[in-house]
Subunit: 361 residues, 2 copies
């Protein structure tokens, strides 16, 4: 007894391609072990897509992947066409068991999620932006089918963060506070600073290693962490918007019109201030970490904080994430999850885990 | 649209009673939020049970709980009858959507699991013993319905250990090695030893605090940890029996016919040897932990080991558990879960989480 699942994927960047490879490598096993026949029907990027409601063949998928890897859009691949999500999804409206995967970036895909959920389809996101829109959009999504909205990979990549939080809540537990180092990039930078690397050099290293976004301000602004904090807070029922979160950027205030190279060149102006904070932490047998604090009530904050070197968070190395759940049942000793919270392969595992859960619903 | 789930529970000890209370406190919410109508039909202990295929009322449940808390058997409660699992389950064989919960101890419930799975029912265990039987029994269970066999609470209580391992495997990852401090009791004892408490005094403290089983040898023998190691190993596909695991008991070899008090009185004979190991660890800036090591291939071991004080495992406090998953995708930085891995309330959360997953299948 097999069940046919059709995949629509928006976003074919590094994470999106890792998802496709993982699906193609495992689908035969899922067919045998879980009775799931998984098939792509749409692959979209911002320019267009390849679409076949009867299922894209492995060859067609590979051709589209090759085009993306060569820097082309999916629309430029053989069989590709210029289109957008609305036009691509509309002709599929009679299909059941469709899972829409969003590995894009930016909130341009939000309308497609609403459409998908209202049709009874499931949505699986690694893209945080559509989940960080205002509360009205948030409740629209949830009314359209919150139980079919999956987003493990938006927080902690492949680490079981959202699933753990949801399990606790479903079993009747109540969150007191979640604290997290939820950015591998900022973890790398703060770790480097604590071992003596000046702030500006640490940022430049992270940029050169590809740990930051192409424009490192996207990480240093704290927006990425704030979005994760928002997603966690909303998951346990807080009514909150991105603007309600108090965010301390991990960078000096500079002219926002600067290009990336100019921005990097100006960072040394902040070195002395960060060095002073490093010294202060060291004197207190503490270490600096960029920490999101999400209490059950009161201010949600994202800021550079001192944590004891001997604590679990203090012993994190480099790009690792940590999520600490203090709840009614885990009040004295919290439930803590540690591991790499970024990277295409583990993010793809988070996405695929959700796809399989959605398929089993 | 509601779905009716019937619960059969074997074992009404501290964990069993916590499960019942959690179910009774949350079932109205599950009805509203998940469309699940959850009702007990059988409550069994080793003497007998209360049984009503049309559902036990809340009052009937409370009466049975009260009897157990007063030290009586369920059979002695009003409406209770002397029976065994086979006789209690047989008249239910025409029912669907039955979940058999095993919060008993010992492997006497194994036959009931096989019966239940073969009828298409689900089984949820906090009881490790039936899963630690020989491989033939293991494969019998899995052939009868491995996908309907849930056992999150057998390892790490409410911590998401089994679910995380299963998710990694389903998404296509491969385990390299799992290491774990999987006994809160032995964690408490080793932590106390590292802060200067003699071994015998640490054991006595743990016994007085109720952290050990009534007979502390059940913990100190390492059998409890070995069973957890076996369950983890089998979950990721190793063909292994309990006897294949190399176990170092955390106690001296004493006449096994000693009573508990005599046993405790004789423990001081081991103090000097353990003190020497504590000193050795301290000189190496390490700490002693009782660690299960489960590699993809080769010997599975359960033993007292030195780990660096500065490591995640080294910074564990008292009764906390740690589980470290090194896999193909988490090779450089492992996926680590830390938290209290024992206690009736969190164990009940693990059981109930599984019941809800089983119900959603």
């Amino acid at each position: 007894m097999t069940r046919q699942i059709r995949l629509v994927q928006m976003g074919v960047g590094t994470v999106g391609r890792a998802v496709i490879r993982l699906v193609m490598a495992n689908r035969e096993r899922w067919r045998q072990q879980c009775g799931l026949e998984i098939q792509y029907v749409v692959l979209l990027d911002t320019q267009g897509g390849v679409i076949d409601r009867n299922g894209l063949s492995d060859d067609e998928m590979r051709v589209a992947l090759t085009a993306k890897e060569a820097g082309q859009s999916v629309a430029e691949a053989p069989l590709g066409e210029q289109t957008n999500a609305a036009n691509a999804l509309q002709p599929l409206s009679d299909l059941h068991d469709v899972v829409v995967i969003d590995c894009a970036s930016g909130d341009g895909t939000a309308a497609a999620h609403l459409l998908a959920l209202r049709q009874g389809w499931s949505c699986v996101l690694s893209n945080k932006a559509p989940l960080a829109l205002d509360q009205q959009r948030h409740y629209q999504l949830h009314e359209a089918g919150g139980a079919r909205l999956w987003y493990e990979a938006t927080v902690g990549a492949g680490l079981p963060i959202i699933s753990t939080l949801r399990s606790l809540l479903t079993a009747g537990d109540a969150v007191h506070e979640i604290t997290a180092c939820a950015s591998g990039t900022l973890g790398y930078i703060t770790s480097a600073m604590m071992t003596g690397t000046p702030y500006s050099a640490a940022v430049r290293q992270a940029h050169q290693l590809g740990y930051t976004e192409p424009d490192p301000r996207d990480d240093l602004s704290g927006l990425d962490v704030a979005r994760k904090a928002l997603i966690l807070a909303r998951t346990f029922g807080r009514r909150i918007d991105l603007g309600d979160i108090s965010v301390e950027p991990l960078m000096p205030t500079l002219d926002s019109s600067l290009g990336v190279e100019e921005f990097l060149a100006n960072l040394a102006t902040a070195d002395a201030a960060f060095a002073a904070r490093v010294s202060h932490a060291q004197r207190a047998e503490a270490t600096l970490k960029y920490i999101a604090t999400i209490p059950a009530e009161g201010a949600v904050t994202v800021q550079l904080r001192e944590v004891p070197t001997a604590s679990q968070a203090g012993s994190l190395s480099g790009p690792e994430n940590i999520f600490v759940f203090r709840t009614r049942e885990y009040a004295d000793n919290p439930l803590t999850i540690i591991g790499p919270g970024a990277g295409p392969a583990v993010t793809a595992m988070g996405v695929v885990g959700d796809v399989l859960q959605a398929a089993a619903q």
